[in-house]
Every structure is written in structure tokens, then in C-alpha cells.
């Protein structure tokens, strides 16, 4: 039999979710929201400081119960510029925007975030950056608006 007309089944699924972030991350986000404070967790077995904070060490599965106060400053480990438009519902803002991985001073791991008050040309791996907080914070990692380069005192 010859196929006269290939037909399709069309549909669209609605997939809402509300993932608990857990006690450790909740505590971190509350302090970020209420006190603009960034804290990591430390592993007493392997000595690492995790930022974002974790409750379980990825290497030895030890429970991480020690909180470590971290400054809002850190080093830019790597960065990129986003131009590709993926659909507004799948992107936090319309491109172009800058993303970087920042290792806060005193932490051993990196946090991915926006870079602002700067340009792609100005960015350098290893440059000092600091967090700029939003005025209205909701208990989300995007309560940090972005990280910006720390300008040398003039």
C-alpha cells in the first residue's frame, strides 16, 4: 500500500514541578535572602569547602554539618557570552548575556552565575569579582543579580 499522506499525532504536555531543595540548601538560600550572606559547607574528612553548599561529600559521602562563612568576593574561573536564543521560557533573560564560574575566596568549588557591569572584552580568567545582590530577594540563587569585576581603587 502506498502512503498517501503521512499523519502525525500532535500533543503538548504540561510538566510542573516543585523540587524540595533540602534543609542545607534552604538554610543557605534563607541567609542569602535575609542577610545577603554566602556560606559554604566543609568536609572534615577531605578538607574541602563546598560552594554551593552540600550536605553530603561527593567523595566520601560524609555528612557535612560545618558551615563556613564566605566573603562575597571571588575569582573568575571561566566565562562565556550567550548569544543564542533558546526560547524565553528556557532562558533566564533574552540574550546576549554573560555567564561565568566564580570560586568564592575560601571555597574549593565554583558557582555558575551572571556577570554584569562589564563586557566580554573586559573579562579575564582569574580576575577578582564580587556579588551584587538584588533588592527584592526571594530565596533563590538568582537573588544574586550578578557578579561584577572589582575595579582597582582609583
Amino acid at each position: 500500500m502506498k502512503t498517501r499522506e503521512p499523519l502525525q499525532v500532535l500533543g503538548r504536555l504540561y510538566v510542573p514541578y516543585a523540587n524540595w531543595v533540602g534543609e542545607t540548601t534552604s538554610q543557605f538560600l534563607c541567609e542569602l535572602r535575609d542577610k545577603r550572606r554566602l556560606r559554604g559547607t566543609g568536609c572534615s574528612e577531605c578538607g574541602k569547602v563546598f560552594m554551593p553548599p552540600r550536605s553530603v561529600c561527593p567523595t566520601c559521602l560524609a555528612s557535612l554539618e560545618t558551615w563556613v562563612d564566605l566573603p562575597t568576593t571571588g575569582l573568575l574561573m571561566t566565562y562565556t557570552s550567550v548569544h543564542y536564543s533558546f526560547g524565553r521560557e528556557y532562558q533566564p533573560m533574552d540574550p546576549p548575556y554573560l555567564l561565568g564560574i566564580i570560586r568564592l575566596d575560601g571555597a574549593d568549588t565554583g558557582l555558575c552565575h551572571f556577570l554584569g557591569e562589564t563586557s566580554f572584552e573586559e573579562l579575564r580568567v582569574g580576575m577578582k569579582v564580587e556579588a551584587v545582590f538584588k533588592e527584592n530577594r526571594e530565596g533563590n540563587i538568582l537573588d544574586i543579580a550578578y557578579f561584577r569585576p572589582i575595579k582597582a581603587a582609583s
Binding site: G22, T24, S55, L61
Partner: protein, 386 residues
């Protein structure tokens, strides 16, 4: 099995409707750590990991990608298993195969679900064929209501029969510190006050939606000899797949359950399952399914399970203990549910089940997992090597 294979450690979390204290990674870490502790080994000893849950139930796919970071699996071989309702059973099967094949000597399997986090309707919709079935499905309650009605009609069982199952399972769950629903249901009358979901299925007849995880450690014979716990041997396992609507000719069917159990019993020389098997942990999402499926597995004649229930023979301290853990009707974190069945049988065969330990001397255990509307995984575990 190609090589002798044993369960040498089991662990599970506590189960609740909501576990806001932990995210999915932390939940799995809890079960993994419990299993490692039970086995008295370090996570670095594990050579390969098997992880799984019900796709999309938390609005997420391919969760093993980031889960490795929370269960000590970074850099190690791993396989994700997502066979729907049977996931937990298949997790055990895959772990058994990885060891039996000679590939690894020590494998960990972990299953989980956080049902409250997503819209399970979306996940269930993706299961069904989009052209023929998806538009008509409404989830599990309709299916199990029809199943209950069918069982009553075929066997003449009164409404009290389902309630008797519920009273037994409540008594069992009260013995199990891990169970989700530990209700003080003492009488059939109390159960019959429960509201109908869809008649004749009542709320108390149906499983809850739970958040929790379970893990097991599986070892080769050689490795098992050096482990802290008494090994529980994997005698055999099988699975049967079918999508009911295409093959049942419009009638209710339990052919998958029948095929899986009869195959397993036949090739292991089991002629009188209820006498030869000491304990069964079966994946039955409702009280009525438990009755019908005990018959489908061949433990008793068609139409007789509710009569045996009436006599109390399925209680943990009686002739044929069924779901001494309280079963799926008391605890149902989907991706973990099938694995909990395996873990509970292992505990029984080890004699480590605490207050829920069966009175009968355990030698052989049966566990099952079920999903879709016709997918069964079944395991036979043994306290002795041969």
C-alpha cells in the same frame, strides 16, 4: 545465574508523603549510606552503580547524570534503569546480572521517588501510546477500581474482603519502622468507613504516594564470603512485558503475573509455592490486587485468596506471610517500591527483620514488582547457596 550472586547489604530511608528536609540527591545518599553501613563497607569498595526511578515524576529526566555526585558514583560505571512501576525490581535484576555475569564483584542499586514534587499525571501520560491510549488514561485509580469490581464479581468476595487485607497490612506496617502509613486500623468496620475513590475501591484500599529511597549491595560468591552479613542468595529472576490493551482481547488480564511466577517456579522445581516459599513481598498497589495477584502467582487457587485472608493465613506470624512489611498499600515511593520488596525479603531470609520477622523458618522468598498495565518482574531469593 552464571555466577552465584548474593545480597549483602540493604538500606532504606523513612518514607513520608513529603520529605522537604532533603532533595533527591540527599534522599538517595540516605539510603546508600544505610546499605553501606549494613554491609559494613565504604562507598569506594563499590565497583558499579545502578540507579532508577519513574521518569518525569519530579519533572526531571536522566537524573543519574547529577545523582552520581550524591551516591559516591563519580567516575564509576553506572546504568540508569527506568522501567516505570517495575523500576525497583529491575534495579535489583540489573545489579544481579552485573555480578552474575562476572563483570563486577560488588554493585550497589538505589531506587527512589519524590512523588509530591511533580505532577505524576504528566509522567503517566507519557507512558501510554499517544495515538491509541494516551487520550483515554486517567491513572491508577480507575484501573484498580475496575480490577476490584472484576475480582468481586468473579469470586463472589464481599466488600469486607478488601478491608480484611487492609487490616492485615496495617498490623504489619505497625511492626515496620520504615513504613509510611502506620495506621491503627484494627477492624474491617473502620476500613469500610473510608470514602470511595471510585467504587468499590476505597481510599484505604489504595497505596499512598510516598517520598523515599531504598538501596541494596550485591556481591559475588567470593566477595560475599568476606562480608559482614549473612548473604542472601539470588536463586533466579524473570520478567514479563506486555501492554494489556493490545493482547487481552478486551478482558481483564493478569497473564503477565501468571507467566512470570509460573516460569520462575517451573524452572526452579517449585511445585507447591505456598508450602515451599516462606515469605512473599508482592508489589500490589491495592488490597484487591493483593488478593487477585496471590492467585495469579499460583500461591492459591483462583477465587480462594479472600477465603484464606478470612482465615488469617497471610499474617506475618502465620502459615504464609504476605507483605510482612505492610506492602505497597502502606508505602509507595514508586522507583524504590520494587527494590523495597527485594530488601524486605532479604531481611526476612537473614532473620534481621526485627518486630516484623516472620514466625516461619525462612528458606525461600518471593518478591515482585509490577507496572504499566501488564509488566511484571519477579525474584526468588534463598537463605542457602544451593
Amino acid at each position: 545465574m552464571a555466577r552465584r550472586t548474593a545480597i549483602v547489604g540493604v538500606g532504606q530511608t523513612f518514607h513520608r508523603s513529603r520529605r522537604p528536609d532533603v532533595h533527591i540527591g540527599e534522599l538517595c545518599a540516605e539510603a546508600v549510606k544505610a546499605a553501606l553501613e549494613d554491609a559494613e563497607i565504604h562507598v569506594r569498595d563499590i565497583q558499579a552503580f545502578v540507579t532508577g526511578n519513574m521518569e518525569l515524576f519530579e519533572g526531571r529526566y536522566v537524573q543519574d547524570m547529577w545523582l552520581a555526585d550524591w551516591i559516591g558514583a563519580v567516575g564509576k560505571p553506572g546504568i540508569r534503569v527506568t522501567t516505570g512501576g517495575t523500576t525497583g525490581g529491575t534495579l535489583a535484576s540489573v545489579a544481579f546480572e552485573l555480578v552474575a555475569s562476572g563483570l563486577y564483584d560488588l554493585v550497589l542499586a538505589v531506587g527512589f521517588e519524590k512523588q509530591f514534587e511533580g505532577d505524576t499525571r504528566a509522567g503517566l501520560k507519557t507512558v501510554a501510546d499517544p495515538l491509541w491510549i494516551r487520550w483515554q488514561t486517567t491513572g491508577a485509580i480507575g484501573y484498580f477500581s475496575r480490577q476490584a469490581r472484576y475480582y468481586m464479581k468473579e469470586t463472589g468476595a464481599p466488600e469486607e474482603a478488601g478491608a480484611m487485607v487492609r487490616v492485615r497490612l496495617a498490623a504489619h506496617a505497625r511492626n515496620n519502622p520504615h513504613a509510611h502509613l502506620r495506621l491503627d486500623l484494627e477492624s474491617v468496620e473502620e476500613v469500610l468507613k473510608s470514602p470511595y475513590l471510585i467504587p468499590p475501591l476505597r481510599q484505604l484500599d489504595m497505596c499512598p504516594t510516598s517520598e523515599g529511597a531504598c538501596a541494596i549491595v550485591v556481591a559475588s560468591e567470593e566477595r560475599a564470603a568476606r562480608m559482614a552479613r549473612r548473604p542472601v542468595w539470588v536463586k533466579d529472576w524473570t520478567s514479563v512485558h506486555k501492554e494489556a490493551i493490545y493482547v487481552r482481547g478486551g478482558r481483564h488480564s493478569v497473564a503477565d503475573l501468571e507467566m512470570a511466577a509460573s516460569r520462575l517456579f517451573r524452572r526452579n522445581g517449585i511445585q507447591k509455592p505456598m508450602e515451599e516459599i516462606s515469605v512473599a513481598e508482592i508489589y500490589a498497589p491495592s488490597t484487591w490486587a493483593e488478593l487477585e495477584w496471590l492467585e495469579a502467582y499460583g500461591f492459591c487457587e483462583k477465587g480462594t485468596a479472600w477465603r484464606l485472608e478470612e482465615k488469617g493465613v497471610f499474617y506475618w506470624n502465620r502459615e504464609f506471610p504476605v507483605n510482612p512489611s505492610g506492602g505497597v498499600v502502606c508505602t509507595n515511593p514508586i522507583g524504590a517500591t520494587g527494590l523495597i520488596r527485594v530488601a524486605e525479603v532479604a531481611l526476612q531470609l537473614r532473620g534481621d527483620a526485627g518486630p516484623r520477622q516472620i514466625s516461619r523458618k525462612p528458606t525461600l522468598g518471593f518478591s515482585s514488582a509490577w507496572g504499566g498495565s501488564g509488566w511484571t518482574v519477579a525474584h526468588l531469593l534463598s537463605s542457602s547457596k544451593d
